[in-house]
């Protein structure tokens, strides 16, 4: 009994740390899908792209992966703005975003993955940083720094984005465009420009999320697929477009997944995310903190 209590506490702590990281991966989807109604299923592919860029910077320049992710923010921001412009011109303007827009992002996901396979091969890649090996020991609970650093970074990014969205003019405009684009237009603001900014921010978060991913685990191009289900599960579970809901959903999923992996074996954990997603969609599509 004593042993299983230790195991339980450890699994929950690890789950919370994992959940923080999941929140970093999902926050982009919460903005793009939850607020802008852009079903960017290629989001995890951008995360993997971020991982590989962090890997390149780490192995060639010896740059810390998180610093590498920060340095890449402008590049990913520009990439996001570009993708949105193509999406707007080709689909949103014509009102064809549902079927063809979805196919567009599905294609992007596939292209990114195959391109990474062609360039880097299917070997697992990893980075080196001083905090990847050691752990903290608080009583019987072990806290690996490899998990703690990404979790703290993710929470910082989360807090910054929450402040940005609720306090600044542009942030409020993004929230407004998610509520009523027409009304925003009547206030003489340009919804297209604001959506472009928001989508660019959502892609920019993947530069950081990718760097965090490659700190937590070795990465190969198809790892992204496991995250498609997770990010949408978290986004829907927490409530569309609600950032606190996203954080809550991410923590919940992290804990449940870790408990499953600890007590039943890791090969079952992918089914947890998707099972949770199916259940949420079937029972409460609005999510926990949904509007």
């Amino acid at each position: 009994m004593d042993l299983s209590y230790d195991l339980l506490t450890n699994a929950i702590v690890a789950g919370v740390l994992l959940g923080g990281f999941y929140a970093a991966v999902t926050i982009g989807i919460s903005i793009a899908f939850g607020m802008l109604d852009i079903v960017n299923i290629a989001h995890p592919a951008f995360v993997i792209l971020g991982s590989y860029i962090a890997y390149l910077l780490n192995t060639t320049l010896g740059l810390d992966p998180i610093l590498g992710g920060l340095a890449m923010l402008p590049v990913f921001y520009a990439l996001g703005a570009l993708v949105y412009e193509v999406y707007y011109l080709a689909f949103e303007r014509r009102g064809q975003e549902s079927l063809r827009g979805l196919a567009f992002f599905f294609g992007l996901l596939f292209i990114t993955e195959v391109a990474l396979v062609l360039v880097f091969g299917v070997d697992y890649r990893f980075v080196e940083a001083p905090y990847i090996g050691p752990s903290l020991h608080l009583g019987f609970v072990g806290v690996p720094l490899r998990m703690l650093v990404p979790c703290v970074t993710a929470l910082l990014m989360f807090g910054a984005l929450q402040l940005f969205l609720s306090r600044t003019f542009v942030g409020r405009a993004i929230k407004a465009v998610s509520q009523n684009a027409l009304a925003l237009q009547l206030m003489a603001a340009n919804p297209r420009r604001i959506k472009r900014t928001a989508f660019a921010i959502s892609i920019a978060t993947t530069a950081i999320a990718g760097a965090l991913l490659i700190i937590i685990q070795p990465v190969e191009p198809s790892v992204g697929r496991d995250y498609i289900g997770r990010v949408f599960a978290i986004c829907v579970l927490g409530g569309m477009g609600s950032l606190p809901g996203t954080l809550l959903g991410a923590m919940l999923l992290g804990i449940v997944e870790n408990l499953t992996a600890t007590f039943y074996g890791p090969s079952w954990s992918p089914a947890i995310a998707f099972g949770a997603l199916l259940l949420t969609l079937a029972l409460r599509p609005a999510g926990i903190l949904g509007r």
Binding site: V114, F274, L278
Partner: protein
């Protein structure tokens, strides 16, 4: 051409095709042709739901692999001939399709698509953890080398898939011009308005998801005998889902010709690219073509041809 004439005509065309392939005296034609035909079935099946009713299914690989794995189970218990295996695979995937149809009660549009993706991963996890069918290690299937009438076994598989492809295309064509087809189109254009004007939307959607799933399962059923080694990663490969979406969208989703044209064009191109260039590169080509076509030619190849014909006549 009426439906009653179309099926025999298509079958006759299929048999001529089979004869022509035999005249080549190279089994590779059958080996590659099988894959193209399999994609004709998958693309047509996807279009029954995606093109006609507008519900985008990302879980093609799940239905396909469930068909394949029901064959694996039967192979271990009591082996059956290929056509019977196709029926069983179709039944299993059809039932899953029916379940997916009930999801549409709560989930419209994008949420449905995400749920199908989720369904695929849950199914893959279940199969991966099921040791009876090999688990994550995969399973070897020993198949006979020869069959009594045709000679080589690959030709037998090819013929079975050919007949299935003809049936799938004929079904799609028949549905398109029936009450059912008009009902599907009404759902695609405006589900609420269709419901309000008395279209039995739920029943129609259940028919679409079940039929679509069943055909995908049937296409997957012979797979273990074709590849002789099957593991979850290859059975549930994302390539099936991408191809099943890319082929109708590139060909054109409006009618039965589109998926057929798309599957033959893209499937053949992939087979050629696999032997001449590299197999990873051919997937890249599919992705690029998909993105290119949805941006530049939203109505696919069929739309382009129609547009040109209309331009000339006016």
């Amino acid at each position: 051409m009426s439906n009653r004439l179309f099926l025999p005509a298509a079958l006759a065309f299929g048999l001529i095709l089979f004869g022509a392939c035999r005249a080549v005296h190279n089994d590779y034609v059958f080996f590659a042709g099988y894959v193209v035909l399999q994609y004709v079935v998958l693309a047509t099946a996807w279009n029954l739901l995606g093109g006609y009713t507008g519900y985008v299914n990302f879980g093609t690989a799940a239905f396909f692999a469930l068909g394949a794995y029901s064959t694996v189970v039967l192979h271990k218990l009591f082996p059956l001939p290929i056509p019977a295996l196709m029926l069983v695979g179709g039944l299993v995937s059809g039932i899953v399709g029916l379940g997916m149809g009930y999801l549409t009660l709560r989930l419209r549009g994008v949420f449905f698509s995400i749920a199908t993706l989720a369904l695929a991963v849950v199914a893959q996890t279940l199969i991966t953890n099921w040791d009876f069918v090999g688990g994550s290690r995969g399973v070897y299937i020993v198949r006979p080398n020869e069959t009594p009438i045709l000679g080589s076994y690959v030709q037998y598989l090819f013929l079975a898939m050919l007949v299935l492809a003809v049936i799938a295309v004929a079904t799609a064509r028949a549905i398109e011009r029936s009450r059912l087809g008009y009902g599907f189109a009404a759902i695609r254009d405006d589900e609420l308005a269709a419901e309000a004007s008395g279209v039995p939307t739920l029943r129609l959607k259940l028919v679409a998801t079940t039929l679509s799933g069943a055909f995908m399962g049937m296409a997957g059923a012979p797979l273990p005998y074709y590849v002789t080694y099957l593991d979850p990663a290859s059975g549930f490969s994302l390539a099936y889902a991408v191809n099943a979406i890319a082929m109708p969208l590139i060909g054109g989703t409006a009618n039965w010709v589109g998926p057929l044209v798309g599957a033959v064009f893209l499937g053949t191109a992939q087979q050629i690219a696999t032997v001449t260039i590299e197999s990873a590169l051919n997937l890249l080509i599919v992705g690029l073509l998909l993105v290119g076509f949805v941006i530049v030619a939203p109505n696919g190849i069929v739309g382009l041809v129609h547009g040109r014909a209309r331009g000339r006549s006016s």
